[in-house]
Amino acid sequence: MDKFDVIIIGGGIVGCLTARTLSRYKLSVLLIEKEADLGTGASSANSAIIHAGYDPLPGTLKAELNVRGNAMWDVLSGELGFDYNRSGDYVVAVGPQELLSLEKLLDQGRRNGVPGMHIISGEEMRSREPAINPQVSGALWAPTGGFCDPFMATISAAENAVQNQVKVLLGTQFLGFVIENNQILGIHTNRGDFACRWVVNAAGLFADEVMHQAGVRPEFHITPRRGEYAVLDRADIQVNNVLFPVPSEKGKGILVTATTHGNTILGPNSVPASGKEDTAITSEGLAEIWEGAGKLFPGLRPTFTIAMFAGLRATGNASSPNRSIYYDHDFIVEIPDSPRGLVNLGGIESPGLTSAPAIAQRVVELMVSEGEKLQLKPDWNPIRPPRPHFRKLPLEEQKKLIDADPRYGRVVCRCEMVTEGEIIAEIHAPIPAVTYDAIKRRTWLGTGRCLGSFDMPRVVDILARELGVPVEQITKRGPGSEFLFRPTKEMEAQHVEG
């Protein structure tokens, strides 16, 4: 049986950043992910916003880790080579009433330690985002807000971990713990058992089920809330900023934001999901996000839509570790008294993406506080070399790339200008992209106006060729999502045999 110092359950942004943080030390680390790719849950279906930190209730773990996490993203994106833009963000007030709410948020932000916030006039807001509702009366400006490429943030963290000897197993599902004398000794998975001294529960939506297997927090439950989004065509509108409406009791409201891919996105709403796989888009949900977004940008039209998606928030019911405040949706970041050997994470919903680097750091601190002797690896390399994105290069650079490798000359996705060279590079990367969606998340292929109808047959061919498998085995997102069933004319053959 393979033995590790630490096993991380779950390859979302939290699990991958934890793996990368642990890779600094002389530890053997295994990360397991049940899906065919990393970051397929909440990490790839969210607003991609790095929150400044004025939103969480002061004194909560969410508030602390949000502000601490926010400060880590510049270094993180630089080292890992993913797109990140510390653009600042706005909470936009429409009409005189909403201005009062800005003061309250400003105060909350200052108590949370958010730097540099101030309120700007309606006129100033309109000059910074000309297409915005002319009724805007003012806005809260938080210069530390921003947005990232959440797909590559996750993947690049895992790649860097792999560069530094962490082992990653995809398609590997946690089934239960091996516990003896109140000490975790390993885990059972669908691919056999693995021994370990520590387990980090980073199972996202399924974190409650994992901790229950260890008998921890039987009262804790994740009740997922679904958030639906619309992605808009760059040709129709491109906003420049991260824009929130004034929040209500229902939450942060429908935001309108720029993304690192240049598309504007709208959303999310917040409705109870029927289960942990209910990522359906509904007409009611779409109507809700269009109405909400229309408050900030009256000129938006549903016909601008280029794609839609829904994500699930891992909303938990844990009370804040800070007993002086009443809050029952806080993060869990803890080492429980029993059984020994579990680092337990749970309820990591928004601002989970922002907080993830701080959560990873906290995991290490908690392990040290439990007496774990960590030694730095002298040869730890924090730099993940980025791979080229053809579309983003100037013509001269494109020419150089094609001269060096002609496969970068063949454009496979015409809308987003993604080349065969880029696809092949992702298939053979340290975390191999072996499904259509995995390639899509890394290259942004298939996200343009034709939504993959041109590239899909070509990508399926390239995957089959590079992986050395028949095209019928190529999937959208893992087993059960195959594209093709059989060759044509097979019917006749069957008749002849019969």
């Binding site: 992605v231 040709a235 990522t279 359906a280 888009i281 509904t282 007409s283 949900g285 779409l286 549903p302 016909t303 839509t305 280029i306 794609a307 839609m308 998606f309 013509l395 494109q398 020419k399 094609i402 001269d403 002609p406 496969r407 970068y408 000359g409 063949r410 454009v411 015409r414 809308c415 200008m417 080349t419 065969e420 259509y436 106006r449 034709c450 939504l451 109808s453 041109f454 899909m456 047959p457 061919d461 095209v471 019928e472 999937t475 959208k476 997102r477 893992g478 087993p479 059960g480 999502s481 195959e482 594209f483 093709l484 069933f485 059989r486 060759p487 044509t488 004319k489 097979e490 019917m491």
Partner: protein, 424 residues
């Protein structure tokens, strides 16, 4: 071998582009190049193996590849050049084209005239905002057509088709012939949106039901489509409660309309009609950008390919005429560009043949005063053509210089001349 500059460059080798290239060549264009992103000529016709093409042009009922082949043969026989497996990345308003391909590498070309014939693309699920899950098994009819007819694989066993467009109906028949089950065709309109002949030949003859005033309320299935929930709609497309029916299937095919493909046109500064989704064109199929023409489904979506070919022919003739005028201008005149410290020069161009008759006088004004001796230089791409010394250069005083007759040969070779003031 590619040339640096062509009379006519055609973008896209579908029916519009092939007809344009042939017509341009026949009209007298010296060199005509088609750039095509696919591995072969013919465009989408190559996957349209059903018949129904050519009734207008050839008075014959041909399958798509046969129709295309007639144009391909003609294009090659009249000497149209082709660049396959190459994608145009950018077109400038001054008709410079950047393209790339795995075999052709990075390509940088100039054209005296361009014909845009990129065709159209299919509308997607997002554009009609079908709710529900996002599993594998939702394809446009054209993608399924490519898989079945070109690649030779079946993308499903049990289908529902949304939209009564022609490709959807033709694919319903094609899939049935390949042994798949097509549960029905749903159409949100109270009428058929494709050709009646396709309804008769593709749906009625194969007992595939057509449900008018129906749409899809949601897609069911996590990894692969498991079913769709169909619903009847009223005249405002609002679903009528109580009419929902769950139709089991593993594949949803979309045939919900086509959109002209104009990303490149926009880059070149071509204005797009918001109604057609294609460029505004005049009766010669010229866009608002001089020398850039457009023809076929890139302009508006046609019902019959025969009309695409006809539009391509006209655009090709116009492009060839434009190119010949351009060529004449280029051949007779050389522009003189103001260089360092020159505000303007008159004349702005010179007739190459003037130097056969005598010296050509140039007059210029400088930008900044220089109170020391200077050279007034005329250069052709770095080579000195002639120069003259002056004791100073002042904006208030015109400087005169003559290009001598002996520079005739140098000027014949020049694309442009530059005049500059430099310190001695």
């Amino acid at each position: 071998m590619l040339k640096d500059k062509y009379d006519v460059i055609v973008i896209g080798a579908g029916p519009g582009g092939l007809a344009a290239a042939i017509a341009a060549k026949r009209q007298g264009a010296e060199d005509v190049l088609i750039i095509e992103r696919d591995q072969e000529l013919g465009g989408i016709l190559q996957q349209c193996i059903h018949n129904g093409f050519g009734l207008e042009v050839f008075k014959q009922d041909l399958p798509g590849p046969a129709y295309a082949q007639r144009y391909i043969n003609e294009a090659l026989s009249v000497g149209v050049e082709t660049l396959l497996d190459t994608m145009v990345l950018d077109i400038t308003p001054r008709r410079r084209i950047f393209a790339s391909g795995a075999r052709s590498g990075f390509v940088d070309l100039k054209a005296r005239a361009i014909v845009l014939s990129m065709g159209c693309r299919e509308r997607t699920r997002a554009q009609i905002r079908i709710p529900g899950m996002r599993p594998a098994g939702i394809f446009t009819a054209g993608t399924a057509q490519r898989w079945v007819n070109v690649e030779g694989f079946m993308p499903g066993k049990q289908f529902v088709v949304l939209g009564s467009g022609d490709i959807g109906m033709i694919m319903a028949r094609r899939l049935t012939l390949e042994g798949a089950r097509v549960e029905g065709v749903l159409e949100v309109m109270p009428f058929l949106t494709g050709l009646t002949r396709n309804y008769v030949q593709c749906l009625m003859d194969f007992d595939i039901p057509l449900h008018l005033s129906h749409t899809i309320k949601r897609v069911i299935g996590k990894n692969r489509v498991e079913a769709v929930e169909a619903v009847q709609v009223d005249e405002k497309w609002t679903p009528i409660p109580g009419t929902e029916v769950v139709m089991p299937c593993d594949t949803l095919l979309l045939s919900v309309g086509l959109i002209p493909e104009n990303e490149l046109s926009r880059k070149a500064g071509v204005q797009i009609d918001p109604i057609t989704g294609g460029p505004f064109v005049d009766d010669r199929f010229e866009t608002n950008v001089p020398g850039i023409f457009a023809a076929g489904n890139v302009v508006h979506v046609y019902d019959l390919v025969d009309w695409v070919s006809e539009a391509g022919r006209q655009a090709g003739v116009s492009a060839a005429r434009f190119a010949s005028i351009e060529r004449r201008k280029e051949d007779t005149h050389v522009p003189i560009k103001p260089g360092e410290n020159v505000r303007y020069v008159v004349p702005q161009t010179i007739d190459r043949e003037s130097l056969a008759e005598g010296n050509v006088r140039l007059q210029l004004r400088v930008r900044q005063p220089i109170e020391s001796s200077v050279w007034v230089e005329v250069r052709n791409n770095g080579n000195l053509v002639t120069r003259k010394g002056e004791l100073y250069a002042r904006p208030g005083e015109i400087i005169t210089l003559e290009i001598p007759m002996k520079a005739y040969d140098e000027v014949q070779l020049a694309d442009e001349l530059t005049i500059a003031i430099v310190k001695r």
